[in-house]
């Protein structure tokens, strides 16, 4: 196989497999749920140190103290734990201590000492260590987890819509090419008419007027993208039709559906594989374009297009919010395009 000897093809295939695996199992390994928001850690920049760091701990404690209706008299840090001295003239309400673990930054608190008849409370509370390698978004959600979870949706839509487009295109193209004559002329004229329609506008219309949903988007994308495939398969079929093995099958009494399924379609696999590989990035691009406009994937679900749109909105304050999902999206698209090119070269008998 010539493909194996192409370094570009192997590299892009590796990248694709890595991204797919990361998206598939990654969200379970990052330690965050993609919807979990940390209100005290909004728009953190990308970085490896454990959070909350000193810069975020102070304000987070201030907010907690305000909510617990206590004064924060002293904060001492002992390794991974904090010793807080809480005071209130009306007495510290012990029930308010549940606010500490609820903020997700701290573990369960332990009362160390009680002074002044309950008006001062010394509490030991373990500090959790949270990691956000790619930072957090405006709501304080882990961006890495979100990028990976978004990748699941983007890749799933890319594959599913491409598969539907592939099935329609192959069936349609093979039928038109095999029947030939008037049927072929009518069928391909229909494709020409569809080519002339402003499809992206129709898809936008469809999604604006009927509520955006995953199914509707899948159908809309597949309806747009099957045309190229139909043309490729038809052209290939036209030449296959006259070949001896097809005539032999015909002479043996095999019907048209049988010939198409057994002899035509398997022999169009090479160009179909190339077209399909190049179709997937187009579909992902269209999906993220629609999601960017707010017409595609809806909250709480997310896709790379949604994340890029979020990032573009807060690009001045937090450029990493655009960079992270954009990097995932672009890496996937480049790898798919390069792999498709390599596949085309490998399957093209005329190229050296």
């Amino acid at each position: 196989m010539r493909l194996a000897r192409m370094p570009g093809a192997l590299a892009s295939l590796t990248v694709l497999i890595l991204i797919a695996l990361a998206c598939l199992i990654g969200p379970a390994l990052t330690g965050h749920d993609f919807e979990r928001a940390y209100p005290d850690l909004r728009q953190l920049p990308a970085g490896l140190p454990a959070q909350p760091d000193a810069a975020h701990l102070g304000p987070a404690l201030e907010r907690l103290a305000f909510r617990m209706r206590v004064r924060l008299d002293a904060v001492e840090r002992e390794g991974d734990a904090l010793r807080l001295t809480l005071a209130s003239d009306a007495g510290v309400d012990r029930r308010s201590l549940v606010y500490l673990p609820r903020s997700a930054l701290f573990g369960a608190p332990m009362i160390v000492e009680e002074r002044d008849g309950g008006r001062t409370l010394v509490v030991a509370v373990p500090l959790r260590r949270l990691y956000f390698p790619l930072g957090t978004d405006v709501q304080g959600r882990d961006l890495l987890t979100r990028c990976l979870a978004a990748g699941r949706i983007s890749l799933a839509i890319g594959l599913a819509a491409s598969l539907v487009a592939l099935l329609i295109g192959v069936a349609y193209g093979a039928t038109a090419g095999f029947l030939g004559g008037a049927a072929d002329a009518v069928m391909m004229r229909f494709v020409d008419v569809l080519y002339a329609l402003p499809f992206v506008f129709f898809v936008i219309l469809l999604l604006v007027f009927f509520r955006p949903s995953l199914t509707l988007m899948l159908v809309a994308i597949a309806a747009v993208e099957w045309l190229d495939m139909a043309r490729v398969v038809r052209a290939q079929t036209l030449s296959l039709r006259e070949r001896d093995f097809v005539r032999a099958a015909h002479a043996l009494g095999v019907g048209a559906p049988g010939i198409i399924a057994r002899h035509i379609v398997p022999n169009t696999l090479a160009p179909v594989a190339v077209t399909a590989t190049l179709l997937v990035p187009q579909v992902i691009l269209l999906e993220s374009f629609l999601s960017f406009l707010g017409l595609g994937v809806q909250e709480p679900q997310t896709s790379w297009g949604v994340l890029v749109a979020d990032g573009a909105r807060s690009i001045e304050a937090a450029p990493h919010m655009l960079a992270a999902p954009a990097a995932f999206l672009i890496a996937t698209l480049v790898a798919l395009n390069l792999f498709g090119d390599a596949l085309a070269d490998a399957l093209d008998p005329s190229a050296g």
């Binding site: 570009g8 004229r189 008419v193 080519y195 002339a196 329609l197 402003p198 992206v200 506008f201 129709f202 936008i204 219309l205 469809l206 604006v208 007027f209 009927f210 990035p281 691009l285 993220s288 374009f289 960017f292 406009l293 297009g305 890029v308 749109a309 990032g311 573009a312 690009i315 001045e316 450029p319 655009l322 954009a326 999206l329 672009i330 698209l333 480049v334 798919l336 395009n337 390069l338 090119d341 005329s350």
Partner: protein, 307 residues
């Protein structure tokens, strides 16, 4: 040739009819209407509005009267832009989109075809290798990522160019949108040119010309005529999509073009505005495809017989 053009024009009529019918009924079957405001109107006022715009009549009657008006070149009044007809809005938006599209088309064609020729002439050379990666990269850079990045780099950090806005087409406002529009097409055109020219350079006639000692420039010129066929065929739909405005680019850069009017029309349930823009786009797509086919026939005599 004349017969070919006439036949294509005759084909365009049913296609446009399909466009009108599909978009008309698609919009009307969807829930919501143009007068659904955040504060609901009084029932009597709503009833009046619907009567003025003819929305109270049966759907099929509305469709008929729309077609009748369309046959006279009237696209109707806009629902959301007060006292403006759809034709007025198109007359405002089209020059914006067309100017941006033309500049982007010229830039993309010049750069793309040039790079493609350079790569095909020196297979395996520096340009050829860079193009392999570069083309895949530009094809994979979505305009909605490129646009904010350009805004950051040239608008916010360097402060060379304005972030967004139109300013009556001041040149500085055109630079970033045009680059965003042209960038993905540079890669596509370069790749297409490289592939088709490379193929022709390997054919028998070209080898013969070379072996007869023709200077490389003249060989290339002969080969180029054939090699540009697929490029010209690609330029038809490309020109159509660039001239009719990009929804994303016009939204991000805040440009008052056709794409913007379409999106606003769709969001406001402005039936006539949406129909008008969709029809305009469909008409332009078909016209430019026809122009591309004619150009191909001019380049390749074999196609003239076939058509």
């Amino acid at each position: 040739m004349i017969r070919f053009i006439l036949r294509r024009l005759a084909q365009a009529v049913p296609t446009l009819l399909v466009v009108v019918t599909v978009s008309f009924f698609l919009m009307r079957l969807a829930p919501g209407g143009p007068f659904d405001l955040e504060r609901p109107l009084a029932p009597a006022a709503l009833e009046n509005l619907r009567r003025v715009y003819g929305l109270d009549r049966p759907l099929i009657v509305q469709f008929g009267s729309y077609l009748a008006a369309l046959a006279q070149g009237d696209l109707g009044p806009s629902f959301s832009f007060r006292d403006m007809s759809v034709l007025d809005l198109i007359a405002r938006g089209l020059p914006v989109s067309a100017l941006l599209g033309t500049l982007a088309l010229v830039l993309a064609t010049g750069l793309g075809v040039g790079l493609g020729i350079a790569a095909a002439l020196r297979r395996g050379g520096v340009i050829d290798r860079l193009l392999g990666i570069g083309a895949a990269l530009t094809l994979s850079l979505p305009s909605f990522v490129v646009a904010p990045l350009l805004q950051i780099a040239f608008g916010l950090t360097l402060r060379w160019l304005p972030l967004s806005g139109w300013a009556d087409g001041a040149p500085s406002h055109l630079v970033l949108p045009v680059i965003t529009l042209a960038l993905p097409q540079v890669g596509a055109l370069a790749r297409l040119t490289r592939a088709s020219l490379g193929e022709i350079l390997r054919t028998q006639p070209v080898r013969t010309m070379r072996s007869l000692g023709l200077p490389p420039i003249r060989v290339t010129r002969h080969a180029l005529r054939g090699a540009l066929l697929p490029v010209v065929a690609y330029l038809g739909p490309l020109a159509a999509s660039l001239l009719t405005g990009s929804v994303v680019v016009e939204t991000i850069f805040g440009l008052p073009g056709i794409g913007r009017y379409f999106v606003e029309g769709a969001l406001n349930r402005d039936y006539t505005l949406v129909m008008g823009t969709v029809l305009l786009v469909a008409g332009l797509v078909m016209t430019l495809n026809l122009a591309a086919d004619l150009a191909c026939a001019w380049l390749d005599p074999r196609l003239r017989v076939a058509t």
